[in-house]
């Protein structure tokens, strides 16, 4: 990967984070229930999708996102219900508990390759759902934990609808920044693992170490997404973390463009909005989503952002070729 491309991708990542700013403004300037609802749903979607993105940078598609969302969300819910509602401790626990859980799990699971990894992570999610069901004393079982108090900041209650949306956007920005930090700091190592693992190892890259860092970071970011969801619903419910919900987050990443955070943000905004639009069409909603997926993946397999970038590159190549011809040969 050449340096100009790396710089360009970093710029696009930053643009992705900047694109989150309008989400901040929405709850501040409007009381519209739809816009606020789309804002918080997008924020949560982006947080979860960005966790998928971190793993993708290593060439791994992880189905664990809902499971770590559940771990982070439930941990924060338990903490909030036991009295600590301050936002910062909640954020910390929502990140740290899944991140730590990811470590032993990682040693077991990260030796698996490719699609094996996907499927085992899927099974892990199923196991977690069953554990939740079998432990009603701790997790509320199938009913979940309800009546979770809203977060507070230095004593100020963040429970009004506008403030709750604001909190989810803040969590989203934190999650995206974490993802940016990890993927940029370890970009060379992640990329070498993604492109050719054996070669990377032979060059001295401690693959297992970086894989674990990525896995743990992805888990922490998922935990933040889970906390955001629990906070806005005031409920930690198992139905929020169903295994197949991961398909939505994967779709956000791929439809937007899997190579940059900008792609993740664009994809999430588009698909969250469209899901809400489709839900008004009763039993057709799933089918419409399917059609949208199909159309975008076939027309723009690199995702929307990816395709635009490719076209831009192709155009630049063409223009450069033309100008070479004009100059008279290309020196």
């Amino acid at each position: 990967m050449t340096t100009p491309k790396r710089d360009r991708d970093f710029k696009l990542d930053c643009w992705g984070i900047l694109l989150l700013l309008p989400l901040f403004i929405v709850p501040l300037i409007t009381k519209s229930p739809l816009l606020n609802s789309l804002a918080y749903q997008s924020a949560i979607g982006i947080s979860a999708a960005v966790a998928v993105y971190v793993m993708l940078r290593m060439g791994l598609l992880s189905f664990t996102v809902p499971a770590f969302m559940a771990i982070g969300g439930y941990a924060a819910a338990m903490l909030a219900k036991s009295g600590t509602t301050e936002l910062i401790p909640l954020l910390l626990i929502a990140f740290v508990v899944p991140a730590i859980t990811a470590l032993p799990l990682g040693t077991l699971v990260l030796r698996l390759k490719g699609v094996y990894f996907i499927f085992v992570t899927f099974i892990f999610n199923e196991i977690l759902q069953l554990v939740i069901f079998e432990t009603p004393g701790l997790t509320g079982g199938s009913n979940g934990i309800s009546g979770v108090p809203s977060a507070t900041l230095f004593g100020i209650d963040l429970g009004t609808p506008q403030l709750q949306v604001l909190v989810t956007v803040v969590v989203c920005v934190v999650a995206a920044l974490c993802a940016l930090a990890v993927t940029q700091r370890f970009r060379p190592e992640f990329t070498s693992i993604e492109e050719n693992e054996t070669l990377a190892e032979s060059l001295g890259v401690a693959v297992w170490k970086y894989r674990t860092i990525g896995f743990s970071a992805s888990a922490g970011v998922s935990g933040l997404a889970g906390f955001a969801l629990v906070n806005v619903l005031s409920t930690a419910h198992p139905s929020s973390f169903a295994s197949w919900s991961v398909n939505s987050y994967i779709a956000y990443v791929f439809v937007g463009g899997r190579n940059t955070i900008l792609g993740v943000v664009v994809g999430s905004l588009l698909l969250v909005t469209m899901t809400n639009v489709f839900s008004a069409y009763a039993h057709l909603s799933a089918g419409l989503f399917g059609v949208l997926l199909l159309v975008v993946m076939m027309a723009a397999p690199g995702g929307l952002v990816g395709t635009v970038v490719r076209r831009y590159d192709a155009r630049k190549e063409r223009l450069r070729g033309e100008s070479d011809v004009r100059v008279g040969g290309g020196v």
């Binding site: 390759k113 196991i127 057709l284 399917g290 199909l294």
Partner: protein, 288 residues
């Protein structure tokens, strides 16, 4: 003791059903690298095709099953050629494409048949009873058909030239291409065979169990587990794993109850994968 025998028989019969549906799934992955999220959709479509043929058109059940198999095969061929073929190299894109197709299939089924379960019954009822155990005749018949179908697939994949070409493509694509094997011709056919198997399973099994638009999801989950345990791309692996999963599920559900039984099954699969990360019969590292 009877419970032990009954559980074993149930496990075998479930194993045969899982095998039939998983072989198709693993074939598609092994040869094309495509994770077919619509596999459950073909299964349930097979059921609905057979149901329509027997109930609306009065076609005898056996013919309906065969026609349903052919229909899902043709549908699979068309879907592969039109939607999947161009993107076959991009494994993750095809995952999402087949996911989209699955959603469209279920919505289509609800639009045509409604959301209520369809009244589809197996033509033969009653059970073979022995001392303390029983096997429904339907299970026996389905078991027999599954065995024949699996044997046919084996023959196709291991003994025919076509099958050898398929396996060559799976083992080493570039070399196979260099030998003159053309993926564009093979892939739709391979996909069609797999979806025909899924449709056949659906047409056979849904009258015994239940036929409703969302029946495909649970089937896909099972296929995932079987295929991952057996080793992606390995037909033998899918077969062996299917029986293991069937037996474990049967015994654990009977003795531990459904919920704890499912937990036991998942944990067992994960443990086996810890020891053997490529699955029981899988070859190392098919990079996704």
């Amino acid at each position: 003791m009877e419970v032990f025998i009954s559980s074993g028989l149930i496990g075998l019969s479930m194993g045969a059903q899982y095998a039939l549906i998983s072989i198709g799934f693993t074939l598609i992955f092994g040869i094309m690298g495509v994770v077919n999220f619509a596999h459950g959709g073909f299964y349930i479509l097979g059921g609905y095709f057979a149901f329509t043929l027997t109930h609306a058109l009065g076609v005898p059940y056996v013919a309906a099953v065969l026609l349903a198999m052919v229909a899902t095969g043709i549908l699979g061929y068309v879907i592969e050629a039109v939607f999947v073929e161009k993107y076959v190299v991009d494994h993750l894109a095809t995952m999402l494409i087949t996911l989209g197709i699955y959603q469209i299939m279920t919505t289509g089924i609800i639009s045509v048949y409604g959301a209520e379960p369809a009244d589809f019954r197996f033509p033969i009822s009653g059970s073979l009873r022995g001392p303390g155990f029983y096997i429904p005749y339907s299970n026996l018949i389905v078991f027999a058909v599954c065995t024949v179908a699996i044997a046919a697939v084996y023959y196709l994949v291991f003994k025919t030239r076509y099958g050898i070409s398929l396996r060559a493509m799976a083992d080493d694509g570039p070399v196979a291409r260099a030998q003159g094997i053309q993926p564009a011709k093979m892939f739709p056919m391979a996909f069609a065979i797999a979806t025909a198997l899924a449709g056949l399973t659906g047409a056979l099994v849904t009258p015994m169990l239940a036929l409703e638009p969302h029946g495909g999801e649970a089937v896909l989950t099972k296929a995932f587990i079987v295929v991952i345990l057996g080793g992606l791309g390995s037909v033998t692996g899918a077969m062996v794993a299917a029986f293991i999963v069937g037996m474990v599920e049967a015994y654990s559900s009977v003795y531990l109850g459904g919920s704890k039984g499912a937990l036991a099954l998942f944990v067992l699969v994960v443990l086996i994968l810890m020891v053997r990360p490529q699955g029981l019969f899988g070859t190392d590292a098919r990079k996704a």
